[in-house]
Symmetry: C2
Subunit: 324 residues, 2 copies
Amino acid sequence: MQDLIQDVFVNIFSNDHLSVFHDSATLSPPNGPLAFTTDSYVIRPLFFPGGDIGSLAVHGTINDLAMSGAWPYYLSAGFILEEGLELTTLQRVAHSMAKAARTCGVQIVCGDTKVVDRGKGDQIFINTAGIGVIPTNINIRPDHIEPEDRIIISGDLGSHGIAVLSVREGLSFSGNISSDSAPLHEVIADLLNAGVSIHCLRDLTRGGLASALNELAQASKTQLTIEESKIPISDSVRGACEILGLDPLYVANEGRFVMFLPAKEVDRALTVLRKHHIAHGSVDIGEVQQLHSAQHNYPVILQTLIGTSRILDLLSGEQLPRIC
Amino acid sequence: MQDLIQDVFVNIFSNDHLSVFHDSATLSPPNGPLAFTTDSYVIRPLFFPGGDIGSLAVHGTINDLAMSGAWPYYLSAGFILEEGLELTTLQRVAHSMAKAARTCGVQIVCGDTKVVDRGKGDQIFINTAGIGVIPTNINIRPDHIEPEDRIIISGDLGSHGIAVLSVREGLSFSGNISSDSAPLHEVIADLLNAGVSIHCLRDLTRGGLASALNELAQASKTQLTIEESKIPISDSVRGACEILGLDPLYVANEGRFVMFLPAKEVDRALTVLRKHHIAHGSVDIGEVQQLHSAQHNYPVILQTLIGTSRILDLLSGEQLPRIC
């Protein structure tokens, strides 16, 4: 185990803070409120078009920090390995994590490895926790969503889920669908630096756009109305979803987010967003509405292509298990 | 899943920072350098005399922070649940975690839950990452160990490992062995407040005292010599180890630590330690020695009861898998 930690993790994740011989990392005190988040990654299979569990574990946790406006600084990495795992598989994942962290400018500063017996795990599970710093006067959160806010999404939906599913099920779709997995902190920082007043952000992971909007409607006690005609979905994702019987509005993304902001901020926001290749497909898809009668449920309404409207409910089960 | 998170986690872990509707927690900026650590817990069975995976996941991560002299403030909690897990089991673990956190004065501020298919996990795995703050001018770390430092351990060894093993293997030993799992931050803070100059601390988890000393000898490039006659081991643990063919010096503890400090500090340190019930069995067990010839290995020497000395090596495999 000590050899494994030294060979794989210390060498691959090497930085000033990471020390295998100490229980915790010591970090400089930050200038501002901390953002702190955690996510476990159990995606199956480990490798998929556009990413793997290692890069996903870096991007996903960075994105959770970015969704509060925080700039990410430090990650922890906890591995649960199944006995019998090929060392080369672990090395490939660790290299991918290290590369993603370097590219994103974050440091993996502490880690832990546990091994479980064969049949009690599934190759590799990874937990990353992340620490970021929130800029002064930034307060991005669900209960800041206001009636008349516009709703923007940062690009086309469903590529991550369909890319993973295609490898898992051995399907091949036209158009080579690749995961949208990407770090979002730079585009969010650019929006904040441009002075865009953001009320709320949410990445569109498990459960996709529909689940995120339902949670946010509930948290902000508003009704959200979006227009189907405005929501970008590629032909290949749409085709794959039809074959598989999936609704792309519920399929997971790992590099897409929804943003709520005042109508007067929309043009400036879209100008900033479209300068980033990971958000060049950003569009305004709808609006927040006040509900005048007191109620317990706050609906998400989809104005359909054929001119009707329907409620986008939360799904009762998970449409796609182990997608992240 | 949303119901599960609301019912089990939000209700049980309730605090000002934890919000199910936001991706990360926002925390006040700390006064001083941060300590940051992570650990995954895969212990089998989930419940054992003296604790369970929930309390262990709180104590273990708090202790990693305490070993750098940090006061623990915030924990994250990431759950990987196996499909088919009984809800009552999860609730029991979550209640235990919440109680341990309350008792220790830390807040669980963010969390995540993933479910894996049956046979791809083992009921419950928990990752906790922790954030603490290190007091000004405190610098406790392995490379601060110096020749002539004394070596203190905080109590008798091996109870955690033997308690877990007894349930796992359905064995019963005389003396009702109960895990030593306990939070160590208060006793460490008392030592620091009393002005005791601590060079290094290490909790004696996986691999026990022998493994910890080997890692620290290597990190500090010193030789460590300890006296077998000074090392407290209860009769029941000693008896169980004899039956099972285990060496108690390699058995895991979850509420014991080793401390390195100048000889002149020992009396004051022992006075503070013995005021805490979790450290009332503290004893000075040996000394740090300089090695005069350059070498690659830094041995840990055990002066045995019969007057000989032997090298305490690192074990090549894990003596007890899934003990934490």
